[in-house]
């Protein structure tokens, strides 16, 4: 898709969003009691552009934690299936770079060619995504290490990508829909000078990261250390099995299905809701539970995000947002586990080298 870049003046942004509200439901970051959260916004005045990390990512408006898949009506012994026909037109405003990557990850999972997820496609098609680059780096962020930030680089997945240049916003657009939606502003085109300024901000942000992880050999290291003691030690001593990590992870796509049937047994609502690999029941079959220990379940989460995801979808399942460790009651940090494994491999390598020379 072709993109163009414009300049939106600071005082134009909110009036433009208000204008968009005529045709779309506006969803954006709002400061609430429990911190910032993406909510359906009534008044653009409620928006908090300088927001930090939300507990639930904006992708919950593309893949709701709970949604109806279909209703099944039984009539004369026949089944009539009614699926979702359309999704509401919505604008997802203020999506940070990591969360834009999370949406790209979900696209890979749900929009596989020939195997598209019906509901997700409808939501995605009717959602205008307005990305917004983070104003600062937070302590839990490690998007720079995961290649997902602080600035969003892929030319896909969004309609608008805003960067605060101080006195105005640089608005990079993708596709015809974006051009149509911004046309009313009659914005001036951005120049090289603006992009230079953007690069300067990017460089400055990159120097602020406190959390880092070396991903060069991460896939191989995690894959060959599936019996490492860190899994059982962390699982047994610290993991409560509360499933918070998977609930807040913006790339977790696993779901379960539940039917709710009417009293006369003729009408059934089939609902899906986000499920968690950290639940005991997740891999339960009639004779066997594939992951019956907490160790196996914790290892599955970390291995999936940092290793097996790459083979499945060609990217990491972790986008470096730091939600899992922020909302973990015992602050289990998957980068710490990965680093411990890497360190022990390093020690082994040193020992091997020593025995060889000795």
């Amino acid at each position: 898709m072709q993109g163009q870049a414009f300049i939106i003046e600071k005082d134009q942004l909110f009036s433009w969003l208000e204008e968009l509200q005529q045709g779309f439901q506006l969803i954006g970051p709002v400061e609430g009691e429990g911190g910032p959260a993406f909510v359906r916004v009534q008044s653009v005045k409620d928006l908090n552009i300088q927001y930090g990390l939300t507990m639930m990512g904006p992708q919950t408006y593309l893949f709701p934690p709970k949604e109806r898949m279909c209703t099944i009506q039984e009539r004369d012994g026949k089944y009539e299936v009614q699926t979702m026909e359309t999704a509401p037109r919505q604008v997802l405003f203020g999506v940070h770079s990591c969360d834009l990557h999370a949406i790209l990850v979900l696209d890979k999972a749900f929009l596989k060619p020939g195997m598209e997820d019906h509901n997700y496609r409808l939501w995605r098609e009717n959602t205008v995504v307005i990305g917004l680059h983070c104003p600062r780096v937070y302590p839990q962020c490690f998007c720079a290490s995961m290649g997902t930030g602080p600035f969003f680089e892929p030319k896909e997945g969004y309609d608008f990508l805003l960067t605060d240049l101080g006195d105005s916003y640089l608005a990079e657009t993708l596709g015809d829909r974006a051009l149509r939606l911004i046309s009313s502003l009659n914005p001036r085109l951005a120049t090289q000078e603006h992009f230079d300024k953007k690069s300067r901000i990017d460089r400055e942000l990159r120097s602020q990261f406190q959390k880092e992880i070396d991903t060069t050999h991460l896939v191989e290291v995690i894959s060959r250390n599936q019996d490492h003691p860190v899994w059982s030690r962390t699982a047994d001593r610290r993991c409560l099995g509360c499933t918070n990590c998977t609930a807040v992870c913006p790339t977790c796509f696993c779901y379960n299905v539940k039917d709710l049937i009417s009293f006369d047994l003729t009408q059934c609502e089939r609902t899906r809701y986000k499920d968690s690999c950290q639940e005991l029941h997740f891999a339960q079959m009639h004779e066997l539970n594939a992951r019956s220990t907490r160790t196996a379940r914790l290892r599955q989460f970390v291995t999936h995000k940092l290793a097996t995801w790459v083979e499945q979808f060609g990217c990491f399942g972790c986008i470096g947002c730091g939600r899992c460790m922020t909302w973990c009651p015992t602050k289990i940090d998957l980068t710490d586990m990965a680093k411990e494994i890497m360190a022990s491999e390093g020690r082994q390598a040193v020992r091997r080298a020593q025995t060889k020379t000795g």
């Binding site: 699926t83 696993c254 009639h286 097996t308």
Partner: protein, 275 residues
């Protein structure tokens, strides 16, 4: 709007197999022909019970909308299917999965090892091999069950036993009664020696409980069969069949899409299996 993914099938026939297991013959309600390959599966369900992944136990025939599932009545879905009467309808989506590597059997020996209900997903493969009997060399079926009463497809087993197109070895853990079948007592792994099969080219297809597949595969490896020509059919909890719900993942593999049939080295390298 009709959902194109859900189809309705009508129950045509029930053939009891054992006390808790029956074969259910269905036909698509729309009468369209239905193509599927041996080893694939359907998501079967009724409103109110969600769905369960069940393998085909029949071989697809040209221009037919008929298909058979052999089902043990164990959970919500299967118990409800067990209560269906002939003529009643069922919802289904499918076929899903990759199926047995039938093209790899051409010109080679084929060894099928099954345990209990594991014979059901192998049956279409065996029928396919019998249909194309001149394309493959030796054909051996080793089937084990707990007792003679737990043997499914008794008619088929008797028929196959009497044919010289294939070698059959049937065994049970406990010989609780006399049986028209030639039954040995023991585990399938005890009867895998001395088979007149070419170690280098034999295609071994194994289906049964995971722990049984583990020992069958390891016995085959000890005997010198080629690792990459051993195939197993994996079972996992599934919600969608389309690689979205995530339940069936083993390492990077989605059992519903990349499987359920895997070559042994391809799947046994991951944790969280008993292989």
């Amino acid at each position: 709007m009709d959902n194109p993914y859900y189809r309705t099938a009508r129950l045509l026939e029930i053939q009891p197999e054992t006390e808790d297991t029956s074969s259910y013959v269905f036909a698509l309600e729309d009468g369209q022909s239905f193509r599927y390959s041996p080893g694939q599966f359907n998501m079967l369900g009724l409103p109110g019970t969600e769905e369960a992944a069940i393998s085909f136990s029949s071989l697809a025939t040209a221009d037919s909308s008929r298909f058979t599932h052999t089902i043990r009545r164990l959970g919500n879905v299967t118990n409800l299917i067990g209560k269906l009467n002939v003529g009643q309808r069922l919802m289904m989506r499918g076929p899903f999965g990759n199926g047995w590597p039938i093209e790899k059997a051409v010109g080679c020996d084929v060894l099928l090892v099954t345990g209990g209900l594991g014979l059901a997903p192998i049956r279409p493969l065996l029928l396919h091999c019998l249909e194309k009997r001149n394309q493959i060399r030796n054909l051996v079926l080793i089937h084990g069950a707990r007792t003679p009463d737990d043997m499914i497809f008794q008619k088929n087993l008797t028929l196959w036993q009497d044919q010289d197109k294939l070698t059959t070895i049937y065994c049970v853990d406990q010989l609780t009664r006399k049986s028209p079948l030639d039954l040995r007592v023991g585990l399938v792994t005890q009867f895998m020696e001395g088979l007149d099969l070419d170690l280098r080219t034999t295609l071994a297809c194994v289906c049964g409980p995971e722990i049984m597949m583990r020992f069958v595969a390891r016995t085959l490896l000890l005997q010198g069969y080629r690792e990459d020509r051993i195939y197993v059919s994996m079972e996992r909890r599934m919600r969608c069949g389309t690689g979205h719900c995530g339940h069936c993942q083993i390492g990077p593999k989605f059992v519903c899409q990349d499987g359920p049939i895997f070559s042994y080295p391809d799947i046994s390298r991951f944790p969280d299996t008993t292989l």
